[in-house]
Symmetry: C2
């Protein structure tokens, strides 16, 4: 019986599909996702993939959720393990730049891409993206507040959080668009200047 906490068998296929879906979406966007393409690439039937999610929108939402899990495991969770204040703030920035630079998603930061894709469209997908993005922004903000209230830094925490988030995203954008690693170098220098 589903819903009793045990894994349904179909969860294996679901995971397989979602793993591919996040990679595809990071390059071609959540609109670039297509049931037929996923099915062909994974040698499944289109209707089988469809049945796993029930609608394209549900597939998109599940893809966001899957990407969020990966993002958290690379950036948020390890940073939460280091002491609050400046050390944690540094860890967040460095983990995020690594996450982008190592291309955990082949198209660069998943949420940067789908955020730009859905920023001006209404609907559940927009809301999910905005919520994920806002949650990470809040995480940075809290770390900045800690660093300031612990006396590690002297700055307006709201502005500082905005700056750090901005620098990371710009590095991702420039590096993916133009290739090379210069953008990460610039971002690290700017972040370093802000966190000293």
């Amino acid at each position: 019986m589903p819903g009793d906490g045990r894994l349904a068998r179909g969860d294996a296929t679901r995971r397989l599909v979602l793993r591919r879906a996040v990679d595809v979406a990071s390059v071609d966007g959540l609109d670039g996702l297509s049931l037929g393409r996923l099915a062909t690439e994974l040698e499944l039937s289109k209707s089988g993939v469809f049945a796993l999610f029930g609608s394209k929108e549900e597939l998109q939402l599940a893809t966001i959720e899957a990407a969020l899990t990966i993002f958290r495991s690379h950036v948020v969770t390890p940073a939460s393990a280091v002491p609050p204040g400046l050390p944690r703030l540094r860890a967040i920035c460095e983990n995020w730049l690594d996450y982008s630079e190592r291309r955990v998603f082949p198209g660069g930061c998943f949420f940067f891409n789908v955020g730009a894709e859905f920023d001006a469209r209404p609907g559940r997908v927009h809301d999910a993206v905005a919520s994920a993005s806002g949650s990470f922004a809040g995480f940075i903000r809290e770390a900045c507040r800690d660093a300031v209230s612990l006396g590690h830094l002297d700055a307006d925490p709201e502005v500082l959080a905005f700056e750090l988030h901005a620098l990371g995203r710009a590095a991702n954008a420039d590096a993916v668009l133009n290739g090379g690693t210069q953008a990460y170098t610039l971002a690290r220098r700017a972040i370093g200047a802000r966190l000293s």
Copy 2:
């Protein structure tokens, strides 16, 4: 005879189509552009619109070119008219934030959106977007170099240019995704701190 420098008369329709195309693309992306949709909305025939450009890719490239003209007229050209150094640098930032905040394109900055859309895909559209984005980044960089060499500021001009560009784009991204104007306020505070 075409190509002799005079305007073909079909340019009126072409302009009409492109004006709509940049608006559509700023919200739904260059892939979200469709010949049929443009034709329906403008009460033209699909084949007529198609014939104006010859292929969808050419339509996308022409749309980028049209957006570039609008962007320049709002941001680059007026800033070029103010004295080089710090005044021009301030003008660039303020013009850009205004351009984003006033929604010259309904989906926010056109090049932010299509940059994120095509950053990881190869092809002529990617190259055109990268070139446009890089050209504006170069414009900021030059203004930063001027400001430093004129003694208006003391900073690494490369890093400063990266920071300013990053802050603007982040303000656009956050404001379009979440609504409200708080992101612009934060960006203006951060930019003001950098330019004093």
